[in-house]
Symmetry: C2
Subunit: 386 residues, 2 copies
Amino acid sequence: MINYFSTNFKLGILGGGQLGKMMLYETRKYDIQTNVLEPNPEAPCKIACDYFETGDLMDFDTVVNFGRKVDVLTFEIEGVNIEALKQLAKEGIKTYPSAETLEKIQNKGIQKNFYKKHQIPTADFEVFATKKELTTALENDKVNFPFVWKSTTGGYDGKGVSVIKNKEALNDLPDAECIAETLVPFKNELAVIVARSASGEVKTYPVVEMEFHPTANQVEYVICPARIEDSVATKARKLAVKVSEAFEHVGLLAVEMFQTENDEILVNEVAPRPHNSGHYSIEASYTNQFEQHIRAILDLPLGTTESKVGGIMVNLVGDAAHEGDVVYENIEKIMKMTGVTPHIYGKKITRPFRKMGHVTIVNKDLAEARKIAEEVKNSIKVISKK
Amino acid sequence: MINYFSTNFKLGILGGGQLGKMMLYETRKYDIQTNVLEPNPEAPCKIACDYFETGDLMDFDTVVNFGRKVDVLTFEIEGVNIEALKQLAKEGIKTYPSAETLEKIQNKGIQKNFYKKHQIPTADFEVFATKKELTTALENDKVNFPFVWKSTTGGYDGKGVSVIKNKEALNDLPDAECIAETLVPFKNELAVIVARSASGEVKTYPVVEMEFHPTANQVEYVICPARIEDSVATKARKLAVKVSEAFEHVGLLAVEMFQTENDEILVNEVAPRPHNSGHYSIEASYTNQFEQHIRAILDLPLGTTESKVGGIMVNLVGDAAHEGDVVYENIEKIMKMTGVTPHIYGKKITRPFRKMGHVTIVNKDLAEARKIAEEVKNSIKVISKK
């Protein structure tokens, strides 16, 4: 085993947002040196890493030159230059997840076709290279309203996904490569985080249940464990492992799934990194997702994935009516509540629906946690200074 | 309430060791800006704060100039210039704990006399200005062997404390102001961490039990909750609150105590800051001690102090036979064990008995945690590179 702790070993992280910031708590805990590449000089990772570089994650030369300074390279955002990762791998720099895995995930059309090829259950879909192709398919009844429209690239936090109910709604869509997906009626949206280490050790976290904001299409509550039957949970965890192994994925893979009316599990999409649906783990799990990601990519033994207590996560998103210097109204009120921990990502400017932080609510009694979570949600507001 | 989160508010921390480092995880979580003053340019806090300054904590001008740049000032080590804290308080900079509180604690002679004055039970003692005074008292039978010798200043981690059994042992003692304390036979060494906020809200953590290394006089296991009767635990927590209130302390106060053969509780000594006996809280408690310290000094509501699960802490101290570039032998072995989290402080050089890190073991079953803690202790070794 390589000695990572208080040595000159260097971990590189592409992306310096909140996921990277929370990863840095863990590299600090292990005293592992980190280099971060990120376009925004004021990003949450600007401190707590050993070396911060401002640069374009999609630029081949920038990524290759950055990667050459580290021993292992990972990313906290999918939008990175894949050719650069391939070049670095050729030069002997370990990149986890690999370029080959990321390539199958980065484009949602490729991702969906991958599920089809590997007999991984997923909603039916068609890929269209242009908006014109999509409208032609609609005219020829090859696609019918309502359907789920997804941009194949650049989707994030509810951007790039819409439910299209009629012809008029098509006007708002950009001319981009896209998927039209059958709208599947479902009971629950679930997620399972799989950790898979470089040498193939695999562990799954308990199934979490997600509730989305009705209009902003962002996760509102993540509830762990999901309030579903054990048999469904077992099926979901097994499917998540199958997905991870099919991708030959190393690191964390968040597998988002639908539980249909008939208790079928369909894979919706995956994220090859720590994920919003795993934030609860910082307070609730024996090993939080960020530590687990570090363990997995450095081929250290994986930690216990079970929970100490029930956990619920509430996203702190910018109020729809506010833009400007952020104020967390009533934060002292939620800090009085039992088992409540706010996480502030460090973005100075709030914007409508911008992800500014999250709050975790833990409790031995999950129903009690859910009640407190609602009080949290009704109390705190992310607004701007008057 | 002042708005601390993602604003220009600045918290100053005197001292940049491991306690400060763990405090910085929490300031990062809340996105509170921090300035750190520390003599060692390679200290654990050198990254993750917003501004790091190298300087002498005992130098009046250095501390005053540093303090003028912040809004609230705290410390993670007691050895700081008290006159500088007083000057800063005069200038309107909030310093928590206050200079007046620290003054009563920094010198162990003054601390012990404070207990006497406030009817806080503590072992009998005499203060001596010089070694000569002590030997004279021994010759005149005013002090008898065996007794506990304590330097009134500069004691830390077992340094500055000895049990003196006979005349020969006196030879090893320095000529310094000291205390001679009655050696009290005790069942347990206990500790209670009290959090007291600027506006007077008080909470105590559960009582922990400490086991010391037989020769190095450093804590070996900290066990939470202590395996003692509820009535004793209640008495210890009440006494800890009394101590905190007597000191008019703001922030965290770790109160170390003896449980005597008759279940009396005697205060041994206090530390006005996060403490080794509270490290278990990072994994085991609803609110860890570092977050709690930040909450207390910023007059935010205090968090829940109870535990999610049983917690045991093992210190990682340098092996007696090793000095040089550190290697954590068998760290991958302990990382395989259930609920085990290593914390590496980030000191590159190990020395005999140097505090290099700690390991937390959490489990719903405390007896199981204790078993795993022993496996941890028997597995990991802090050695130097060959």
